[in-house]
């Protein structure tokens, strides 16, 4: 967004260029000629380094697919004739010297080349498309380093809007997102997907098994909610309870079990044991791992004597 703002400002502050050529982009030199209509004004003196785009794939001019400035911003004849006029397409979401182009027009410019891509197949009608998220809301096209495409810096870009998750990744139990080892895009496809919550895979379980294949089974003794949705018990962005649990045993187990063994027994301060004020011997059913002191294979057991997920 800031990028868009600055780009917008930059365009406003420079002397207009001569009239644009209309020749299609072909050889690298042709492409550069076309760019020069813009770069003769929008040069190294820009506050935001416009020319750094040449370090990115969008600036690799020998690739015949590489766009010129006009491919994205339009011919912008009015802008070229007078710097008081805005370019045809101005990227960003914040106001600058000129109003930004409508999001659909900005995105149309990008999708001209990027729509027919397997990762963007589901863009139309996706959550981000419906919420008027612009490509430039996340991508800094002119920057040598596009933060959203770097595992270490990507989360900060996503957290610009997803602020609950920004707080959740700081919780006691978390995926190594803040540490730069897991990126949002490892699990989510922001450009749309067939899965829920923009997941990269078709289902929650498939997405989790990408890294946690040991949970995939199939096991001899399955735990039904595990086979359906990991988020029945886990909260992936962060939790106060290790490991990424919504709640802790025995309370977590009691959300689905009441009757067999001790699952129907009320528990409170006795779970804190002697140090919690209990004057009798604490029970292994409620303290520490509680149910999982014995029923430890909650993701499924492959032991022929493990129906109760004991072994």
């Amino acid at each position: 967004m800031l990028c868009g703002l600055l780009i917008g400002s930059a365009y406003a502050e420079n002397t207009p260029a001569p009239a644009a050529k209309s020749a299609p982009v072909g050889k690298a030199s042709d492409a550069l000629d076309k760019d020069s209509e813009c770069t003769r004004c929008h040069d190294e003196n820009e506050k935001k380094p416009i020319l750094a785009i040449y370090q990115t794939p969008h600036g690799n001019k020998a690739d015949s697919r590489t766009p010129s400035c006009q491919s994205c911003h339009g011919d912008s004849a009015k802008h070229i004739s007078s710097k008081t006029n805005a370019p045809d397409v101005l990227f960003g979401t914040k106001k600058g010297a000129f109003p930004m182009s409508e999001v659909k027009d900005q995105n149309k410019s990008c999708l001209t080349c990027h729509e027919k891509d397997p990762k963007r197949t589901h863009w139309q009608g996706s959550a981000h498309q419906a919420a008027d998220v612009a490509c430039s809301s996340c991508h800094e096209t002119h920057a040598a380093h596009d933060k959203v495409r770097d595992k270490k810096t990507q989360p900060d870009v996503c957290f610009t809007c997803h602020k609950d998750q920004r707080a959740q990744v700081k919780k006691f139990s978390h995926h190594p997102i803040g540490e730069g080892k897991v990126a949002c895009s490892d699990c989510h496809n922001p450009h749309g997907s067939a899965g829920s919550k923009l997941l990269v895979k078709n289902t929650v379980t498939e997405t989790c098994y990408t890294c946690h294949a040991e949970k995939r089974g199939p096991f001899l003794w399955e735990h039904q909610p595990v086979t359906e949705d990991c988020t029945n018990c886990h909260t992936p962005h962060g939790s106060n309870i290790t490991p990424l649990l919504k709640s802790r045993a025995p309370f977590l187990c009691q959300e689905c079990h009441d009757g067999s063994h001790q699952s129907g027994t009320p528990v409170a301060g006795n779970a804190a044991g002697t140090q919690g004020g209990l004057t009798t011997v604490p029970s292994e059913n409620f303290t520490g791992r509680a149910c999982m002191n014995c029923h430890s294979l909650v993701h499924g057991s492959n032991h022929p004597a493990g129906a109760l997920l004991h072994r």
Binding site: A213, E214, G217, T227, E255, N302, A305, R311
Partner: protein
């Protein structure tokens, strides 16, 4: 804010950095002859230096590799090149080498080369050590990552006879001396190779392969087998708990191959995804010293040998097809289809375990129906989505999704001795489910600045098991359906204020079958079974929350206001309420959140931003128990008001952050960055027993009602970084990190030595992982 700016300019750290660096590096400053040319070419960097961490802490070093006190090397590089960066050459060839965190166990290396638009090859290596705890103690001998753990010969049994401890609360000095610390950690090493090739502008292929190697161990609870005969007439104590190290000697090979075609109006990608998981072990063995209290059996001969299974090796092969077709520029169809086949046929862990008395204990004395599962699951996915924008200002979307997990694994009867040494009959129930979803949405632009979205979703779920022995119903809710409607309104008030508000309501209707029987063994089969009966052994009226009828209301709203070009303000909030229709089980719950953000970009390279996030959640459970004059649990027992209890979980979270960036100091040579955050989370359980024993439940001898001390975690983090440009191509960075964690968690209480554990849980000494760590880092970055 301006005051803060001035303070930042003269803060002690920046002054210290400024003068120290000026004194040390009086290098001449050069300048590129052509700054425009410099901007067009990549800046290669090599970073090297060292840091010192003041405290050993597995939790501080959980993922960052800094688990030990001491010095670490800092190493990183980013080198790029190729004629593709030279605009005078008509070449698209570019290459890149990069590495980060080279001095820690979180290191990452990458290399790529591409003739852009034609082909690309990339290599990667990523390492991550997950440090779990450095306080775990065990008397068991064996390294983390091994799958067999033994007790020292002189440990002795825990059986209460002949001077031996009665239970694990009264271990002897010899036994206590056998405990030693084992640091628990797992390490992931991920190597990847990818390549893509464009045959034409329309046709391209891509293959990615990665090999994930895992090592180390995680802690796991174990219950000991009762009834194992020991020398001297003793026997193993049922359900004796030892927390042991579960090895993660895994490898996973993932392969993705895709062929993509795109035309003027359509595109299509066909691909294969393979995931082959291998576990070096299929069982985990350990010795257990807890024995029955009727014998004077002493020494190594009084240990029972125990075993459990580990994660079975398995594989998934999946064919994928995705694509889209544009009927017109405003009417588009997109969709996909996947078919996967997931198999698992690892040999079962042994059921006959050699014991100290020379015999073997056979958990399955009547034999097994098979030596491995031969498990097979088919997964099928299909989706279609049609979007239409042919009417001005109106976008229509209609979609359909289908997901099925069809478990073809045979159901069989497994007779074995459960932990209490009674004969148990289990029937495996291979779960299958199918979910179909329909969705329709209309987005209409009311005015240039107002937009409204109306959406409807329908979800149907079917659950079943094929061929269950005995023909029992295996699932509580064979079918359910959910309807969801949503309304969202967006307003762009003026150029600088964006407002949005949304509401959705969802109603899930679940068909519940109280005759269902879970694989906890309650089948009408020969042999003793535990907790047999209707409703899988739960009280009639009890419904597990994922399978209960539910109404859900969700409200969210937010406003972003760009006050000036420099100042942004954002406030948003959300509230969700779930109401379950269940006599017993989760009754309701809510979650709420508020986020406030403000950012002030007061100069081109200087800014300060702050945020506050508040989150609250609550879950209310209603359950039933025996006792209080009611009969012992029977399958048909209904719950009376006098044995109903409730439990509430309340989560609270407050997070604040402050980020400052002050660039352009010392004539543009110095940049100071400050990053502060504070997070306080608490989870509190409260149980109420409104019936007759309520007074007794609060006594110190029971404590089964009332509030449990909250689980609290407080994290304070401060990072200050000063980057000083020593010369045009060199930058010195000095960073200071302070991080402090205060934890308060009752979990660890029952793990301690000296009479705090339950009678048959071996202590581990696990402790809260509080830490206060100071890190100082100094590095030099050379650009070329």
């Amino acid at each position: 804010m301006k005051t803060h700016n001035e303070e930042m300019k003269v803060n002690i750290l920046s002054l210290a950095v400024r003068y120290a660096l000026l004194a040390t590096f009086a290098l001449p400053l050069g300048a590129y002859a052509d700054e425009a040319d410099a901007l067009k070419h990549p800046v290669n960097t090599v970073d090297f230096g060292a840091l010192y961490s003041s405290q050993s802490s597995a939790k501080f070093g959980e993922y960052n590799g800094l688990k030990d006190e001491g010095f670490y090397g800092i190493g990183a590089f980013d080198v790029r090149g190729g004629d593709g960066y030279d605009q005078d050459k008509n070449s698209a060839l570019r290459w890149k080498l990069n590495g980060t965190d080279l001095g820690t166990t979180s290191r990452n290396l990458g290399a790529s080369i591409t003739d852009q638009g034609k082909w690309k090859v990339n290599l990667g290596y990523d390492e991550l050590q997950h440090n779990i705890t450095d306080t775990f103690q065990t008397p068991l001998q064996g390294d983390p990552g091994a799958n067999n753990f033994t007790l020292p010969a002189n440990f002795g049994s825990v059986n209460g006879a002949g001077g031996l401890p009665v239970n694990t609360r009264t271990l002897t000095n010899t036994q206590l001396n056998a405990f030693h610390i084992e640091k628990e950690q797992t390490t992931r090493r991920n190597s990847s190779l990818g390549t893509s090739y464009s045959f034409t502008e329309q046709l391209s292929a891509q293959i990615d392969y990665n090999h994930l190697e895992q090592s180390g161990a995680k802690l796991i609870g174990t219950g000991a087998q009762g009834g194992i005969n020991l020398l001297g007439g003793s026997s193993g104590r049922a359900e004796g708990n030892n927390i042991i190290m579960n090895p993660t000697n895994y490898s996973t090979d993932n392969i993705t191959a895709a062929l993509s075609w795109k035309g003027e109006k359509a595109h299509l990608t066909g691909g294969y995804y393979g995931s082959i998981f291998h576990d070096d072990y299929n069982s985990l063995s350990w010795q257990n010293s807890l024995a029955s209290a009727n014998s004077g059996c002493r020494g190594a001969n009084c240990y029972t040998n125990e075993t459990m299974s580990t994660a079975p090796s398995n594989s998934l092969h999946q064919a994928n097809l995705t694509g889209g077709y544009d009927f017109t520029p405003t009417t588009k169809l997109a969709g996909g289809f996947s078919y996967g086949y997931n198999t698992q046929n690892d040999n079962y862990a042994p059921t006959s375990i050699p014991q100290a008395n020379g015999t073997s204990y056979n958990m399955a004395p009547n034999g097994l129906p098979a030596s491995s599962l031969n498990g097979a699951v088919e997964t099928t996915h299909g989706d279609l989505k049609l979007t239409n924008q042919s009417i001005k200002d109106l976008t229509l979307t209609a979609g359909f999704k289908y997901n099925e997990r069809n478990n073809h694994t045979d159901s069989d009867r497994y007779n074995y001795n459960h932990l209490g040494n009674g004969l148990y009959t289990g029937v495996n129930t291979p779960y299958s489910n199918r979910k179909t979803q329909w969705e329709a949405a209309a987005d209409y632009r009311l005015t240039k600045s107002q937009k409204v979205r109306l959406s409807y979703e329908r979800e149907d779920i079917k659950r079943w098991c094929d061929g269950v022995v005995g023909g029992a119903q295996c699932v509580a809710s064979p079918t359910s359906d959910e309807d969801k409607v949503g309304l969202t309104y967006r307003l762009k008030a003026f150029d600088d204020v964006n407002f949005n508000a949304g509401y959705s309501f969802a109603k899930r209707n679940a068909n519940f079958d109280h005759n269902f029987q879970a694989n906890t063994g309650n089948y009408a089969l020969p042999g003793a079974v535990l907790h047999g009966g209707l409703n899988a052994g739960d009280y009639l009226g009890y419904v597990a929350y994922p399978y209960a009828t539910r109404a859900q209301n969700l409200v969210k709203s937010g406003v972003n206001w760009q006050l000036t070009r420099q100042v942004d303000l954002g406030v948003n909030g959300n509230y969700k309420y779930d109401d379950y229709n269940a006599t017993l089980g989760v009754q309701n719950g809510h979650s709420a959140g508020v986020n406030v953000d403000v950012a002030y970009n007061y100069e081109e390279n200087s800014s300060v931003s702050a945020y506050w996030s508040w989150q609250n959640g609550q879950r209310n459970l209603r359950s039933g128990t025996t006792g209080n004059g009611t009969a012992a649990f029977t399958p048909t027992q209904t719950v009376a008001p006098r044995n109903i209890w409730t439990n509430r979980l309340e989560d609270n979270s407050n997070t604040v952050g402050l980020l400052t960036k002050n660039g352009g100091l010392l004539g543009g040579k110095l940049e100071v960055i400050g990053d502060f955050s504070y997070a306080l989370d608490s989870s509190a359980y409260s149980t109420q027993i409104p019936y007759g024993t309520a007074t007794a439940c609060g006594s110190s001898a029971s404590l089964t009602c009332g509030s449990l001390s909250p689980i609290k975690n407080e994290l304070i983090s401060l990072k200050l970084t000063g980057n000083y440009k020593v010369h045009k191509n060199g930058k010195l960075a000095l960073a200071y990190i302070y991080q402090k964690l205060n934890s308060n968690d009752y979990f660890y209480n029952g793990q301690q030595f000296g009479g705090y554990t339950p009678n048959r849980v071996m202590p581990t000494g696990l402790r809260e992982q509080d830490y206060t760590v100071n890190v100082v880092a100094l590095s030099y970055s050379l650009a070329f």
